[in-house]
């Protein structure tokens, strides 16, 4: 109860602010209409109208909620109008990209920790790769992949992996280096091989860092998948819904897609959090 109350208070405040902003932002259209018709607008009529427009500048919360509900449950999940269908298209690209990014990130981190040349050379490139705006590079990846005959899932996953490998590299390099000199000396006294040091000390020690990175990485993966859907001409996916919504001024559709994306992201982060708690408590690292 004690934790619910503050959360509810904040939520109510946000919704109240949202309604107020919706009235304010959508009022221009209402006043214009009234001026054209030569009528006066009362405050009651203003509120009623601004919260029920078909193409509002800022849709009211209940409009978004209805859009989201209709998108999710208003038709068959396989329908092209279903947010579940579009969500799945984006989610599958996100998961594949996240898997590629995670494997790549861990592999690069292992290389960086074990090889001086990689230590000196890889990190600057990894950092540079993240300074390039993803919006600039995504269309090029789509175009290049398309010329190689790859469309749909794979190019989106590549963009998704491009964003998600970075937090994994940074977190894992730190994690793999977290064992102190004494723990490394101990394994030296056993004449342990580099593989033993990696498997028995560095990897287990890096797990808490890995999970922190995965949470950031999976959110980045989702952004990557959505951005990857924008230049493909809005075929399918939450990105496509965003784009077609903005083409046709369907603000409710945009917001519904945004919320669908947020729900997917929250679900993924919570899933990783659950795996994290289960793993770390089994390892005795969380008490």
């Amino acid at each position: 109860m004690r934790s619910v109350l503050p959360i509810l208070t904040v939520l109510i405040a946000i919704v109240a602010l949202w309604y107020a902003a919706a009235v304010k932002l959508n009022s221009t259209w209402t006043y214009d209409q009234a001026a054209r018709a030569g009528t006066e607008v009362t405050f009651g009529a203003l509120v009623k109208d601004t919260l029920a427009q078909e193409r509002p500048v800022l849709p009211a919360p209940h409009q978004v909620a209805k859009g989201l509900w209709d998108g999710l449950f208003g038709q068959a999940f396989t329908s092209k109008r279903s947010l579940v269908y579009h969500g799945w298209v984006t989610l599958s690209a996100t998961l594949l990209g996240f898997a590629i990014g995670t494997v790549l990130g861990i592999a690069l981190a292992v290389g960086i920790v074990h090889n001086r040349a990689m230590d000196m050379s890889v990190m600057p490139w990894a950092i540079a790769s993240q300074t390039i705006p993803i919006l600039a590079i995504a269309p090029m990846i789509i175009v290049v992949m398309n010329s190689l005959g790859l469309q749909g899932l794979i190019p989106k996953s590549i963009i998704s992996a491009y964003l998600s490998f970075f937090p994994v590299v940074v977190g894992m390099v730190k994690g793999l280096r977290s064992p102190d000199a004494m723990q490394l000396d101990l394994l030296r006294t056993y004449n342990a091989s580099a593989a033993d040091v990696l498997l028995k000390l560095r990897l287990p020690a890096s797990l808490p860092y890995l999970f922190a990175s995965l949470k950031v990485g999976v959110a980045a993966s989702l952004v990557g998948a959505i951005v990857g859907e924008l230049p493909t001409g809005a075929v399918a996916g939450l990105g496509a819904r965003l784009l077609s919504g903005s083409y046709y001024g369907q603000t409710v559709q945009i917001w519904a897609a945004l919320f669908a994306a947020a729900i997917v992201a929250a679900g993924l982060v919570m899933l990783i959090g659950a795996v994290e708690r289960a793993t770390l408590s089994r390892m005795g690292l969380e008490r």
């Binding site: 004494m182 723990q183 000396d185 101990l186 394994l187 030296r188 006294t189 056993y190 004449n191 342990a192 091989s193 033993d196 028995k200 000390l201 287990p204 020690a205 797990l207 390892m283 005795g284 690292l285 008490r287």
Partner: protein, 266 residues
Amino acid sequence: MKDTAGHGAPVIEARGVGLTFQTNDGPVVALKDVNLSIGKGEFVSFIGPSGCGKTTFLRAVAALEHPTEGTLTVNGMTPDAARQARAYGYVFQAAGLYPWRTIAGNVRLPLEIMGFSRAEQEERIERVLSLVDLQGFGRKFPWQLSGGMQQRASIARALAFDADILLMDEPFGALDEIVRDRLNEELLKLWARTEKTIGFVTHSIPEAVYLSTKIVVMSPRPGRITDVIESTLPKERPLDIRDSRAFIEIAHRVREGLRHGHGDEV
């Protein structure tokens, strides 16, 4: 120099060993002209103030540091060869148990690396845990144990693979005196039972005198040996031996050795 080894060839032998670290502030002489011979089954303490090179010498024996002068042999081999032959167990100042492994899992670590069979791992874990009086704690995680128990587990880990030499770097330095006394008593019993050769770094005079058959007094800048004292105490040592005349005399000589070492540099 008289060979002080108990019997047979020395287990650890240093001849003119020097070790200089190259640092950004220029070379630092950590050890200079160290001559020492340790026989099988001896309990040798290294005592001296910080920077006297006692830990450095122990690490050199373990091939964790490499002397820049002289010769150092362990079991007649170079320290590196001895390390590869897994000739010694090393106990660090901190227990350094892996938090994600149980106590048994931690003791298992060297056994896994050295390729012991599963059945033999279990048998050895059982045996060394009872040797350090931790039977029944195998399934606990390190954080569930006190500092003294953790350090005992780390000793069990060093004993698990039956190396003849046990190197201990201030293993009880972080523990309170009551726990320390008990662990010292247990360590002596364990030494009597296993007949290992023990190298033990400490900066406590009573600890050194109580435990050792030989006390190596060292002094800093440069790290060197100022005195080697053969203990006249019997092998059987109850805690109250520390009030005996012989004990006090040895402690006095150690103190003199330490003072002498300090006198040189002034």
